[in-house]
C-alpha cells in the first residue's frame, strides 16, 4: 500500500489542501474572521477560466492567469465593500456578513451564468499520465506539488523579508499594538485578502481540474476542506495550516483505502467527527500558536 504512487498522490492532495487552508488562515490570523465566503473565491476563479476560454477564446495560460486574477479581485472587493465597514463593530456580525457574501456570490453566478455545471477547459497535459518508478500518476498531481512548493517558498520570503510581510506577521500576533507602531490597518488587511484570493485562485485551477467543471456550489467543498485542515493544523499559524493540509491529505487517502465500501459515503461525517475530536482534545491544533482561548471549560 505504501508505494511511491501513494506517496505522490498523498503529497499532491496535501499540497492542494495546504493552499486552501493557508488562504483561510491568512485572513483569520489578522481579522479573526472565519471567512465563509472563501470557497466562493475558488468558484469564481473556476468561472473566470470557463468564461475566458469560452467567450474570449483565450489560450490556456491566459485563462489560468485570468482565473487567479478574478479570485484576487473578488477577494479584494469583498473586503472593501462588505468586510471593511463591519469589521470594527463586531466579530459575530463579520462572520454572518461573510456567510451573506457567500450566498450573494453563489446567486450572482446562478443568475449571470447558469445553475447548471459548466465545463472548464484545461490544457491537455493536465490529465496526461507519466510513469514514475513503476506507478502511473497524472501530470497535474506532480504539477500541484511543484506549484505549491514554489508558492510556499515565495510566501515565506514575502512574510520574512518584506515590510508588509513583517507587518502582517506582527498584526496576526497583536493587531492593536501593530497599529500603534504606525502600520496602517487597511493595507495589512487588504494584503491578507489579496494573498488569500491568490491562493484560492491557484488552488482553484487544480480543484476544478479534478472534475473539469464548475457550478455555483463548487465553493462548498474547498471551504469545508480548508476548515478541517485549519482546525487540525492550528488556526493561529500559517505553518499550522500547511501541516494541517498535508495531514488531512494523508488521513483522507488512508480513509479512502481502508474504509469498507459501504462506509465511504459517510467519509465527510467521519472527517468532521475527527475535527470535533481534535477541538476537544487538542483545541490549538497540531502547531500551537500564541495565547489562545478556544476552550473555556
Amino acid at each position: 500500500m505504501i508505494d511511491l504512487e501513494f506517496v505522490i498522490n498523498t503529497l499532491s492532495l496535501g499540497s492542494l489542501y495546504a493552499l486552501l487552508a493557508l488562504g483561510l488562515v491568512l485572513v483569520y490570523g489578522i481579522l479573526r474572521l472565519v471567512n465563509f465566503a472563501y470557497g466562493e473565491y475558488v468558484m469564481i476563479a473556476g468561472y473566470a477560466i470557463f468564461l475566458s476560454a469560452t467567450y474570449l477564446n483565450a489560450p490556456w495560460y491566459l485563462t489560468l492567469v485570468l482565473g487567479v486574477f478574478a479570485a484576487i479581485v473578488v477577494s479584494y472587493l469583498t473586503e472593501i465593500i462588505a468586510f471593511r465597514p463591519v469589521r470594527t463593530k463586531s466579530v459575530d456580525a463579520l462572520i454572518v456578513t461573510s456567510f451573506a457574501v457567500s450566498i450573494f456570490l453563489q446567486n450572482v453566478v446562478l443568475i449571470a451564468v447558469s445553475p447548471r455545471a459548466k465545463p472548464v477547459p484545461l490544457p491537455s497535459f493536465f490529465s496526461e499520465t507519466v510513469e514514475v518508478a513503476g506507478g502511473t500518476v497524472p501530470v497535474r498531481n506532480l504539477l500541484v506539488i511543484v506549484v505549491t512548493a514554489v508558492l510556499l517558498i515565495a510566501l515565506s520570503l514575502l512574510m520574512k523579508k518584506t515590510v508588509v510581510g513583517m507587518a502582517m506577521r506582527a498584526a496576526a500576533d497583536k493587531f492593536t499594538t501593530t497599529r500603534l507602531m504606525g502600520v496602517p490597518a487597511n493595507v495589512v488587511i487588504s494584503t491578507a485578502f489579496v494573498l488569500s484570493g491568490l491562493l484560492a485562485g491557484v488552488a482553484a485551477i487544480f480543484w476544478v481540474s479534478r472534475s473539469a467543471s464548475v457550478d455555483p456550489l463548487t465553493g462548498t467543498g474547498p471551504l469545508l476542506i480548508a476548515f478541517i485542515c485549519v482546525v487540525m493544523g492550528g488556526m493561529h499559524s500559517t505553518i499550522g495550516a500547511v501541516v494541517g493540509g498535508y495531514v488531512y491529505g494523508l488521513v483522507f487517502n488512508v480513509l479512502s483505502l481502508t474504509l469498507p465500501a459501504s462506509m465511504v459515503s459517510y467519509r465527510d461525517a467521519f472527517m468532521f467527527g475527527l475535527v470535533v475530536l481534535f477541538l476537544l482534545f487538542r483545541p490549538a491544533g497540531i502547531i500551537k500558536g500564541g495565547y489562545t482561548e478556544e476552550r473555556v471549560g
Binding site: 472565519v34 465597514p85 454572518v96 483545541p283 482561548e293
Partner: protein, 355 residues
C-alpha cells in the same frame, strides 16, 4: 386595589410579550377572515418560521454563539414526527428500506410532536456538552461541522430518512391557528427564558465571560442548558412544520434554510424576542415580494433566460447593508416597550401589525 396594581405591574414588566402577540393574533384573524388562500398560506408559514426564529434566539441571541445546528435540529424533529405519525402502509411504500420497527410505529399527532421534541433534545444532550466548552472560531467551526455531519447522516441513512429522496405521506394537520399557537408558545418560552435567572446568566457569559466566571456562573453548564432548550424548541417547531409541508427532503435542513433563519434573527437583532419578530416580519415580507417579482419577470419572458436566485441575492445584499448600518440588528438588543402607559404604539409595533 392591590390585585389591580399587581396586574398593572405585571403587565408593565412583561408588556413586550403582549405588544408582540396582539398584532400577531390580530393579523392572523384579519388575514383569515378577509385574505386570500395564498395570504393565509404565507401567514401560516410565517408563524412557523417565527417560532423557529424564537428557538434560535433562545440560544444564539443569549449566548452569542452562532448556532448552525438549529436547522439540523428542526430536521430531526421533522423526521421524528414523520416517522411517528405517517401510517405504516404509506411508510412501507414511501421509504422502502426503513427498519421494520420504525415502520410499525404509529402515534397520534400531539404526542408525536412532543416525542419529536424530546428526541431532538436527546441529540442535543449528547452532542452539546463537549461543544459548549469551545469558544470563538472553534465553536463556530464545530457547530458548522455538526450541521454538515447531520446533513450527511440525513442524506445517507436511508433506513430512517429515505436518504436524499423525499419523505412524504404526512397528514396536513397544521392550520394557521396551530401555527399561530406554536409561535405564541415559543414567543412566551423565549421571553421567559431571556428574563429568567438562567437566561440572565447566559447573557452574562456572552457579555463578559471573565466577569461572569468571577461571580460564580458555570459558563459551560449554563450554555449547555440553553442549547438543549433551544434544540427542543427547534425539534417541536420542526414537527409542526413537517405537518404543514407534508413532504420534505434533507435539502430543507441545510445552508439555504439556515441562511433564511439567520437573516431573520440578525436583521432584526438577535438580542431579544422583539428583534427576532421584526426580523422575521421584514424577511418574510421582502422574500414574498421578491418571489412575486421573480415570477413576474420569468412569466413576462422579457429576458431570454429564467431568473433563479434573485430572492437570495437581494436578501444577501440586504443583510450586509443592515449589518453595516446596525451590526446588532435593527433594534439591537432592546425589547419593545410602550414609551409611557397610555400613549400610542411606536412605529416598530405598527410594523409588526402590518404582517
Amino acid at each position: 386595589m392591590s390585585l389591580v396594581n399587581r396586574l398593572i405591574g405585571f403587565f408593565n414588566r412583561h408588556q413586550t410579550v403582549v405588544l408582540l402577540a396582539v398584532p400577531l393574533i390580530v393579523a392572523g384573524i384579519v388575514i383569515n377572515a378577509f385574505g386570500s388562500r395564498l395570504l393565509v398560506d404565507i401567514y401560516t408559514y410565517f408563524c412557523v418560521s417565527l417560532a423557529l426564529v424564537y428557538s434560535l434566539q433562545v440560544f444564539m441571541g443569549n449566548s452569542g454563539i452562532l448556532a448552525w445546528t438549529q436547522v439540523g435540529f428542526m430536521g430531526i424533529g421533522a423526521y421524528a414526527t414523520g416517522i411517528l405519525v405517517t401510517p405504516p402502509g404509506v411508510k412501507e411504500m414511501g421509504v422502502p428500506n426503513m427498519y421494520p420497527a420504525l415502520v410499525d410505529l404509529s402515534v397520534p399527532i400531539l404526542p408525536a410532536i412532543v416525542i419529536a421534541a424530546l428526541v431532538t433534545g436527546l441529540v442535543a444532550v449528547i452532542i452539546g456538552y463537549p461543544l459548549m466548552r469551545l469558544n470563538d472560531f472553534a465553536s463556530v467551526i464545530t457547530l458548522f461541522a455538526m450541521l454538515v455531519v447531520m446533513h450527511t447522516i440525513m442524506t445517507q441513512w436511508d433506513n430512517v430518512t429515505n436518504g436524499p429522496r423525499t419523505f412524504f405521506g404526512l397528514p396536513q394537520w397544521t392550520t394557521w391557528g396551530i401555527a399561530l399557537t406554536t409561535a405564541l408558545a415559543m414567543l412566551g418560552l423565549a421571553y421567559w427564558f431571556r428574563e429568567s435567572g438562567l437566561g440572565l446568566r447566559l447573557r452574562a457569559t456572552r457579555d463578559d465571560r471573565h466577569a461572569a466566571a468571577a461571580i460564580g456562573i458555570d459558563m459551560v453548564f449554563t450554555r449547555y442548558l440553553g442549547f438543549v432548550l433551544s434544540a427542543m424548541m427547534a425539534g417541536l417547531v420542526g414537527g409542526v412544520w413537517s405537518l404543514y409541508i407534508t413532504s420534505f427532503s434533507p435539502k430543507a435542513f441545510y445552508m439555504g434554510e439556515m441562511f433564511v433563519l439567520l437573516s431573520m434573527l440578525v436583521i432584526g437583532g438577535s438580542g431579544g424576542v422583539s428583534g427576532a419578530t421584526i426580523g422575521a416580519v421584514m424577511v418574510t415580507l421582502s422574500r414574498e415580494l421578491l418571489r412575486q417579482l421573480e415570477s413576474i419577470i420569468n412569466n413576462a419572458h422579457v429576458l431570454s433566460f429564467e431568473v433563479f436566485g434573485l430572492t437570495e441575492l437581494v436578501m444577501a445584499v440586504l443583510m450586509v447593508v443592515v449589518l453595516v448600518w446596525r451590526p446588532a440588528g435593527i433594534i439591537g438588543g432592546q425589547e419593545l416597550r410602550l414609551p409611557r402607559l397610555g400613549k400610542k404604539k411606536g412605529p416598530a409595533e405598527a410594523n409588526g401589525a402590518a404582517s
